[in-house]
């Protein structure tokens, strides 16, 4: 294929641009492609928009629309599909659009009926970022054991007092 700009040399570079959702593809020779960076050029690519579209193309691959990840466990959709395992509870809402058809395919439906979680609705209201007191205490107990094992007794004493305080405050 010949370069679409100079129509002389063989096209070696593929350029894509997307404007308002319409993607166009151009095939350029090495010289013409390099030229874009220095002189710009006019037709058939109108105006400076071309630069930004090239820019956007690159960003598409790298950072502008990076792979979507679950903010809680950092899983991407491809992590989930390749492992066949969902990363965490949050993933079900983060990747809802992709997972919902899959779930329907497995179960023939995507709506639960059966036992309701006693705290289910309350949890959604209060948000998911707070640990319960029990969870915090359990984490502290693990830290306490580790401090004792590594003979850091001063730190262990501090943790112990904190656990006591939390347990009494319940």
């Amino acid at each position: 294929m010949l370069c679409q700009k100079c129509k002389k040399h063989t096209a070696t570079t593929q350029v894509k641009r997307t404007i308002n959702g319409i993607t166009e593809e151009f095939f350029l020779c090495r010289d013409c492609a390099a030229e874009i960076g220095f002189n710009g050029f006019i037709n058939p690519f109108s105006s400076a928009g071309f630069f930004s579209s090239l820019f956007n193309d690159k960003m598409d691959e790298k950072s502008l629309s990076p792979v979507k990840r679950c903010p809680k466990c950092n899983s991407s959709l491809s992590d989930i599909t390749s492992l066949g395992k969902v990363g965490c509870a949050e993933c079900y809402s983060v990747f809802e659009n992709s997972l919902s058809p899959l779930i329907t395919k497995i179960h023939g439906t995507n709506h639960h009926c059966g036992k309701l979680s006693p705290s289910g609705s309350a949890n959604e209201e209060k948000g998911n970022n707070f640990k319960t007191l029990e969870e915090e205490i359990a984490e502290l107990k693990v830290k306490l054991n580790e401090a004792v094992e590594s003979q850091e007794y001063e730190q262990a004493a501090v943790i112990r007092d904190k656990i006591k305080e939390m347990e009494e405050g319940k």
């Binding site: 466990c73 492992l83 965490c88 509870a89 079900y92 009926c113 969870e135 359990a138 693990v142």
Partner: protein, 339 residues
Amino acid sequence: MSVKWYEKSGDLGDIVVSTRIRLARNLEQYPFPSRLNAEQRKVINSLFEDAMKKGNSTIANDFDFISLEELNPFEARSMAERHLISPEFAARPEGHGVILNKDNSIALMLCEEDHLRLQVLSPGLALNEAYELAEKIESLLSETLNFAFSQRYGYLTECPTNLGTGLRASVMLHLPALEQVGGIQSLSKTLSKVGFTLRGTYGENSGALGALYQLSNQLSLGIDEYTALDNLKGITHQVIEQEKAAREKLDEMAIWDKVFRSYGILKNARILSSKEFFEHISNIRLGISMGIISDISIETVNVLSNDMQAATLISRYDEAKDSANRDILRAKLVRESLK
């Protein structure tokens, strides 16, 4: 040592060896198990341990926390042989714990495929009773722990196949006649079309041992717990009828001969491999069920079926480590038990 659940027999116990209920739950604050680090596993283990102890004291006193890391590999495998934990769980002890009651009928596997796999086992056909017990324990835990739940998908699980109720109910069935007339494959195909799975005793990738098959529900979303249990119960009765019909088709004298040959071997053999033992104990169970044998109870068959497995023998008897000695020991224990 207290009598274990599997040493008893229940409703339709000649064909339905046992009932198993499994509920999957996850703590909403933590990633699912395959993305947990070692410290998080420890925290989760102790959260469940504390939650069980906080419950009313009769329940709390009945349970022990067992860290798989502290067991020798044979003890862990023995637990898998007796269906208390999954073989995959037994094979990877790191950060794995199980909370077990005294008669072994309730087991809480921690950080398996989900943070909690709560399992209730019961002899015979007892789906509703076993579920109600599981539900009671789950409710107790949810007083102190927040389980991941969404209005739309129900209880959230690591694998989407368990979403919704998180309930997997199964019955272990003894189907020697269906096996002999070659009816298992077509039955299994039919069952999978209506949302049930039939497979060999020890789950995926295993053949049936001693004509024992596990029948379970496949769907957990969009169907409530009691409907799922009723459906499984209905299907179980149909499979039992099919097994009985298949028994009618077999030559009566041939069955009597087979049952009494096995009776003779188990009462007299000096060397008994695991495979041979399961083949003959299956014939004994059939003989009891058909009224051919009356001096051996289903309970005895249940006890032997659990206790004569390799890892269980090794975890109890030092000499069983050597496989030749183990087969001799197995023959001796079976002879003594059938005297």
